[in-house]
Symmetry: C2
Subunit: 227 residues, 2 copies
């Protein structure tokens, strides 16, 4: 029998698992994952925080600190088992499950994303592309059919969708966003050049390529000014 105090503790435990982890840590987690995959491919099955820190250009202290937010994955005097740590971080990142993704916009970027083979490796299945352009409808891109944006509601009601990727211009994006909310989609990968407003319960990841490019021009221009 579970009494109320135990329930409280379970609640607190979950809070610790999900919340409280700082953005900075979450930002670094995928990078650890990428490096560990490479190590595994290189046949290395054991690594210390010190070695990994040299490889990645971060401090060993930060690596240990980061990982210990989620659990003690290492062993004193030994270091970390690469395969085990890789798998555990994968679990933390939610990569042990499968996600259905739709892509709004079958332009160049949408098509590029639809063909991205890396997705399937990470459990992301691109199920459909949507566009307004009549000449694209019915075609397939990377094995995925292009549907008319008008059929978005019908499609999502029939097929489970976890992630919607937005790859359309900002004027259209602001009109599509509420439709995604109405359809109860809870994860949005936004490539449009605008910070779309979503309710609290929707998880949004923005990829603002133009901002990335401006950081590059800033750094270049600072280092190599014209006069």
């Amino acid at each position: 029998m579970i009494d109320s105090e135990t329930l409280y503790l379970i609640g607190a435990q979950n809070m610790n698992d999900n919340k409280n982890i700082s953005r900075a840590v979450i930002k670094r987690l995928p990078r650890y994952y990428t490096y560990l995959k490479q190590l595994q491919e290189d046949g290395i099955n054991r690594i210390s925080s010190e070695e990994l820190s040299r490889l990645m250009g971060v401090t060993a202290s930060q690596i240990r600190q980061d990982l210990n937010h989620f659990g003690g994955f290492g062993q004193q005097g030994y270091g970390y088992n690469v395969a085990y740590l890789y798998e555990e971080i994968g679990k933390i990142l939610g990569l042990e499950r499968v996600y259905s993704m739709i892509i709004i916009g079958a332009g160049n970027l949408g098509q590029a994303l639809a063909r991205y083979s890396h997705f399937r490796q990470r459990g992301i299945e691109v199920k459909a592309l949507f566009d307004v352009k009549e000449e694209l409808i019915g075609k397939t891109e990377g094995g995925v059919e292009i549907l008319h944006i008008d059929s978005l509601e019908d499609y999502v009601k029939e097929n489970p969708v976890e992630i919607a990727t937005i790859a359309i211009p900002k004027t259209q994006a602001v009109r599509v966003a509420p439709r995604l909310v109405a359809l109860d989609i809870k994860a949005v990968w936004n490539f449009s050049h605008v910070d779309l407003k979503f309710p609290e319960d929707v998880v949004v990841e923005n990829v603002h390529l133009s901002e990335s490019l401006m950081r590059l021009t800033y750094n270049y221009n600072s280092k190599y000014p014209l006069n």
Copy 2:
């Protein structure tokens, strides 16, 4: 006549202009720029840090603090002139000059980037795409010719190139990177799934889409776990 102490002071001044600005500030700068452009398009010509803070979801204090790293662009009792601030941030971001860009890789992503009209607005001119695939060579993509990667050296020696965009798989990317260094290219926009190693004098901006997607699955899975 400039004595050594004056020279020292000039040096210190330049240090302040370029260095010392924290990554966090530089990261936010393009976002201010994007919002100011929108305000300008909306016909708003004056804004206070308080109003802007509500719009962007940051503190007014942070906005004022950030901007004052580069100069006093506002006026007490009035706020900021939108057009003026937009222009000044543009200058800081190095957007008053024109950059020649080449794109390594004419696959889906390379093609999508070549067609990106936003670039031209920001003074980025895509001059050529490079690929290994014989069937692509000689075609044009978004008005830009696709050349063979073997002609990279010849091309760059004849044509000035400020920015090289890398849109090829990581195994090829690690082989192309040293060639870019040898050609004296000082700015790299890297879309390959690996942290390429460049000398200190090369400015690199990484866009790791798979890491972005993992942050999305992490946040989604934390909020909506399977069991």
